[in-house]
């Protein structure tokens, strides 16, 4: 957003429904924020459904509580446990089936998912940065994941600038937020009186055009830009650098790995909520009559036992080696694979860790840098 060449318009609050209608008119189903189970979930939105207003997400290590936003904004919640990832990298799906015919011959059949046109309302800059990394993994040239690709091609992304970061957010230090800069069809910045809006693609421009909105005023654009700067400045956590590869790989025997292993549950929640984690496992599920079988893929985690299982032994038998694998892959190995760190600063691994482990505090302790929240470790 806030590129000089962009055509920036203004969407009053009371026309948000018209925006969703224009998106639906383009053939997309809308998925957006809904208050459910004490959190913000991304759910299919009914045609007459209003987006929640005045909801904030108060987050701390191991804690997530919904609070109230006095300004009654639509997007004052920083994030929920998931955003785009489960919509395109399915937590569980069948990839193919095999059946035995009367002569005993095997016939294999690819199972492709239903991939409706899907508009995701309210994704954040960190989500878009994570999506770019997932694309780099799943849509790599010559090795494209058909199931991911089919759903990815159908996405229409409505990004929103983060104005109210959670205490767990640190996207400013990873360079991924809080204002969306790339990868969206539409981007919004929410002000008291409505939204400053820009399009980032031809479909996005068509949707905005259909609404016939007035241009945003220079005052509104300036307010939105300043709001983004303030949100970045308000973040209390950080990583000590954007390339920690050398620092971490030089500390593989650091005693902090033992310290964190004392507290880590190896439950894998951090990897499940991480928007860039892509590990999965595959199983065959034979039918009871022995005539067919389906091949299923599901999310896996480097904190699980079988992830490190090689023939005859396990390369990561304990929690210390598993936590180290996760953190060093995320912040070091990703540089080798994708040319940047795998962390986009969304802070989900901090909030959704049932033991309240603070990723930024662990990195600070490992690298000897000042970081984390500046608070004493619990």
């Amino acid at each position: 957003m806030f590129n000089e060449t962009e055509h920036t318009v203004f969407l009053p609050h009371d026309r948000l429904g018209a925006l969703l209608a224009a998106i639906r008119a383009g053939g997309w189903q809308c998925v957006g924020p809904r208050v459910e189970q004490g959190t913000i979930v991304m759910a299919p939105l009914a045609e007459d459904e209003d987006l929640p207003r005045g909801v904030q997400a108060e987050q701390a290590p191991g804690q997530y509580r919904l609070g109230t936003d006095a300004k009654r904004r639509h997007f004052a919640w920083a994030n929920g446990p998931q955003a785009i990832k489960p919509l395109i990298f399915a937590p569980q799906e069948t990839l193919w089936r095999v059946a035995r015919d009367a002569d005993g011959r095997l016939a294999f059949e690819t199972v492709m998912p239903d991939a409706p046109k899907l508009a995701v309302i309210g994704v954040r800059a960190c989500d878009l940065a994570a999506l770019a990394l997932q694309d780099a993994h799943f849509l790599r040239k010559g090795r494209t994941d058909a199931h991911y690709g089919a759903r990815r091609a159908q996405l229409f992304l409505v990004a929103v600038q983060c104005a109210v970061p959670a205490s767990t957010c640190f996207c400013a230090s990873t360079g991924d937020g809080p204002t969306p800069t790339v990868g969206y069809d539409l981007a919004l910045a929410e002000l008291d009186e409505g939204f400053v809006a820009v399009a980032g693609s031809a479909p996005g421009r068509a949707v905005l055009h259909a609404l016939g909105l007035a241009e945003a005023s220079p005052v509104q654009i300036a307010a939105a830009r300043e709001q983004g700067d303030a949100a970045a400045a308000a973040q209390t956590r950080r990583l000590p650098g954007r390339d920690l590869r050398e620092a971490l790989m030089a500390r593989l025997k650091h005693p902090q790995w033992d310290a964190v292993a004392e507290r880590c549950l190896a439950c894998g929640n951090c990897t499940a909520v991480c928007p860039t984690c892509f590990c999965h496992t595959e199983h065959d599920i034979p039918a009871l009559d022995g005539a067919s079988s389906r091949h299923e893929r599901e999310w896996d985690s480097c904190f699980g036992e079988t992830h490190g299982h090689l023939h005859g032994f396990n390369v990561r038998p304990d929690i210390r080696t598993r936590y180290r694998q996760w953190l060093t892959h995320k912040l070091a190995g990703w540089h080798d694979q994708f040319g940047r760190s795998g962390c986009v600063g969304c802070g989900r691994c901090i909030a959704w860790c049932p033991a309240g482990i603070d990723f930024t505090a662990e990195v600070a302790a490992l690298t000897g840098a000042s970081g984390g929240s500046g608070m004493e470790e619990r």
């Binding site: 937590p91 004392e262 880590c264 549950l265 190896a266 439950c267 009871l288 009559d289 022995g290 033991a355």
Partner: protein, 265 residues
Amino acid sequence: MNAHTPSRPRVAVHKFSSCDGCQLAFLNLGEDLLTLAARVDLVYFAEAGPLDADAEVDVAFVEGSVSTPEDLERIQRIRARSGVLVAIGACAVSGGIQGLRNGADSASWVAQIYDHPEAIASLEHSTPIATHVPVDFELWGCPVTSSQVLGVVNALLLGVSPCDNADKVCTECKRLGHSCVLVTRGIPCMGPVTRAGCGALCPGLGRDCYGCFGPAENANTHALSAQFARLGLDAQAIARRFQSINSQAPVFRQAAEKMRTAGDE
């Protein structure tokens, strides 16, 4: 046994000290039960009908713990007549809820409850099947699910080792998109130390897991106890979280003992 065995594999489903709930994993299969009956020869399954307790079988499923003098003798007979023995359910793999009497004065309990305590013949301890005979495969759960049972039957019919998912309940919870009850509500969910397999049933209904599938691999009970303490539970309350369905599973028993000791100090 393998898929090319000309005759159908003979299968028995036995019950020891238990509530019969795990046998329902078979009976609740619906149409699949008919398919199963066509693929295997069910020679003993008291709850369903067939009764030949001493038949030689290829696969014996054993529900329940060893809890009476009669159980001690019967499990030896079954082991001797079975090719593969699969222990199913919390009672069979950890001693079950009745294992709570281990370490208690059960004789005084019996005296308080029954008019004729001399009519009760029970062992001092409730113990898992594997304490008494070699067990080829264990299915955790209270009760086990139909898909667990089917998974084992299928694997054995195909001649491969059954899959053993020892990951935490959290892995299933997150795949299903449930919101974490521990993080959003601060309630003491046992999911992070409990073995998957139930499909995150309790968290999916908004309540905390109580560990009925027993300890997962690499269960860091110490870290979870510390988090429960931060959530406001005292040592005795934390100990009780581990002393439920699978109180005698060594990992849970040690976690409870540690908290009891801490609470006494």
